[in-house]
């Protein structure tokens, strides 16, 4: 068994049974009330040695980088917290089946009474995978993944995935590697093929692409920079597809540089009680032979505030705009913004707001969306224990608009029109959180303001998905 010594001991230590701190003690030390933490933070301690057992294939430098902060600990409480952080960093590398750590007093001639050593026991794994269910907006998929892990010793992983769903089928092969031995900075590259169906617009696509991206954290949030080349093939779903969509059938090439910034400080991603979410996407894309085709911006903001009597207030805002950079660039319907859905602009059918032709939504190059929600616990109790925690009733007001903005002529009028032709709906319903996986809503909606071409849904509307606003 390989082991890594982060710091050389003064003398060789005989192998002894370490006095193990039980996991429950670890938790108590770190995560119960402030008073306890203060006590344990006042007991001075010093870490002599950090020891990692169980490494065979993994290179040492990447492991050392994750655990070396434990050496800086000054107190018992700090040792536990730092060790826990090191454990999650190691877990993020995704190459260990099991990671446990133990804190033991340091034995040896030159060890003082406050000297400790921390021992990590890891079990490597070279293969991984599984079958998961995935939820999109009113559609679901089964994803099978198979991974080769830790190819060259520094958490280089190859991930093969195949998803089969109600509206899409996709497969991908991705290679990922943490950069600078930091699991938070992840480089990925690979290829994918994605079959998708878009019945609201009457077309289906086959996208085959290559992509490379880097994800890294910053003080404000996480950034993802990606570049991608996609061969897109668009075909009509049936003979009744609108001619405006049929005109875009065929093959095209799109290459894009994208930057995504995300800052999610909500306490839960399905039914948050407090926190904020802010995401911002910029895309610079070229289409076919136009290297600089269009620029696309998209922003989303959510804020949650807990109010007395267990109610939660939510404010959401979103908006996006797209500008062709060269005149005559044809922006494909696949790049347009769409609006409407049981979780976003409630009271309207999925993506059915805005310009349409023959019953098929065409999308547009600008939109805005806002929502105000008030969540309350259920007025009655259903089951025992925390079951009720997954249910909420909510009252909402949603407003938004989708339209085309012409940058060459009368841009100001177009923007004004976008603000004036707003759609509005309100209602109330029940929100269910399904195990951190999806959000289910059953609402009674009243679309108060509907414009020509929209397809609205008065009355009960059911929605299931992950993204909502």
């Amino acid at each position: 068994m390989e082991s890594v010594r982060a710091k050389e001991p003064p003398t060789t230590t005989p192998k002894q049974q370490p006095q193990k701190l039980k996991p429950v003690h670890r938790m108590l030390l770190g995560f119960t009330g402030k008073e306890d933490r203060n006590i344990f933070n006042q007991i001075p301690a010093h870490v002599n040695k950090v020891h990692v057992d169980g490494l065979e294939h993994t290179k040492h430098d990447i492991v050392i980088k994750q655990v070396k902060d434990v050496l800086e600990a000054q107190s018992i409480g700090e040792i536990c917290v730092r060790a826990h952080t090191a454990q999650s960093k190691l877990r993020k590398l995704d190459i260990f089946k099991d990671i446990q750590f133990f804190i033991d007093t340091s034995k040896g001639k030159q060890s003082g009474t406050n000297d400790y050593e921390v021992i990590f026991e890891v079990e490597e794994r070279r293969l991984g995978g599984g079958i998961h269910g995935e939820v999109g907006t009113n559609d679901g998929a089964v994803r099978t993944a198979f991974k080769f892990l830790n190819l060259f010793g520094r958490a280089e992983n190859v991930n093969m995935e195949y998803s089969y769903g109600t509206k899409m089928t996709s497969g991908s092969l991705m290679f990922s590697k943490p950069l600078f031995e930091n699991p938070d900075i992840l480089f990925r590259t690979g290829g994918y093929q994605h079959h998708g169906e878009y019945p609201w617009s009457g077309y289906r696509t086959i996208d085959r692409g290559l992509l490379a991206d880097i994800q890294f954290p910053s003080r404000l949030g996480s950034h993802t920079l990606s570049c991608e080349g996609v061969w897109r093939e668009l075909g009509c779903m049936n003979r009744t597809t609108a001619f405006a969509v049929r005109e875009q059938a065929g093959h095209s090439l799109k290459y894009a540089l994208k930057h995504v910034f995300a800052r999610d400080h909500r306490d839960n991603n399905i039914l948050p009680n407090k926190g904020t979410l802010f995401t911002c996407t910029q895309e610079l894309a070229g289409v076919d032979d136009k290297v600089l085709g269009f620029v696309k911006h998209n922003m989303e903001f959510q804020a949650f505030k807990q109010l007395p009597l267990s109610t939660v207030f939510q404010l959401s805002l979103g908006g996006g705009i797209m500008k062709p950079l060269q005149s005559g660039t044809e922006v494909s319907i696949q790049d347009h913004f769409f609006l409407g859905g049981p979780l976003t602009l409630r009271g309207f059918n999925i993506n059915a707001v805005g310009p349409s032709s023959d019953g098929n939504a065409l999308g547009a190059n600008a939109y805005w969306l806002g929502g105000l929600h008030l969540y309350t616990p259920l007025p009655f109790r259903i089951g025992k224990g925390g079951f009720d925690d997954h249910f909420r009733t909510h009252m909402f007001v949603n407003a938004g608009s989708l339209g085309n903005v012409n940058f060459d002529s009368n841009m100001k009028e177009d923007l004004q029109r976008l603000a004036e032709t707003y759609r509005l709906s309100y209602g109330l319903g029940i929100v269910v959180r399904i195990g951190g996986l999806a959000r289910l809503e059953l609402n009674y909606c009243v679309p108060a303001q509907v414009r020509q071409g929209d397809s609205s849904n008065v009355g009960l509307q059911f929605g299931i998905g992950v993204t909502f606003s």
């Binding site: 075909g235 003979r239 005109e247 059938a249 093959h251």
Partner: protein, 261 residues
Amino acid sequence: MASLLADAFAVEIGAKEPWPDNVSLYQPFEVGQILLPDFAACLGVKTYLSMCGLNYELVFKKNAEHMSPSGKVPFMHIGPFLISEFDPIVAFVNTKGFHLSSHLEETERGEMRAYMSLVDNVLLNAELYLSWCQEDVVTEVSRPRYGSVYPWPLNKVLSWKKYYEERRRLKAMGWAQKTLEEVCEEVKTCCQALSEKLDKNLYFFGDNPSELDALVYGHLYTLLTTVLPVSRFAEIIQEFDNLSQFVSRIDSKYHSKDLQH
């Protein structure tokens, strides 16, 4: 009172005018993209519409093939309808009340169908063979032209994809395995049959044109005038004088006026 009458009048006129003004015919770009068989098909349809005296607008689209509901060009967009390929377009035009072969008897019409079937089976497949099974033509003409409207690397990927698809189809029909000599023999036999039928007449069935004339003209004109590394078919057709004269006659009557483009 007067406006009521005017409205009723307008409605009557509208009902009697079955051919709208905004009919469009879609095909790939003629200059750099279209291939031999597609050109023949499009020309046949255009000639037929000219023979019927019908107006249409010709629209060039690089993705015409993918826009078409059947995957083949040309296709016609008339009101809410989309009709592609020669036979369905002829049938649709007939329902609108325009007939070219109404003067024919049943037996003659049956004969016409037989000849059209012969042309489809021989001339069309010969064109496909020439475009996709003759290596010179494939590498110098077919693949470059097919991919010319797409950026790299799509131009290479799509042209090879089309090459494999067409070859697979020709193999299933038994044409890919033939040699050039065998195909020339088939073309010659077909031209012989057509030449005998045409004889010294102006058109295949008397003095008025029919669908067969449009179809044959489309194929023969294409084979005679397209410059390819392999020009055997043009030579074969030129052996039959009355066919060459037939082609130039229809050309001068229906296409030299350059009605639509």
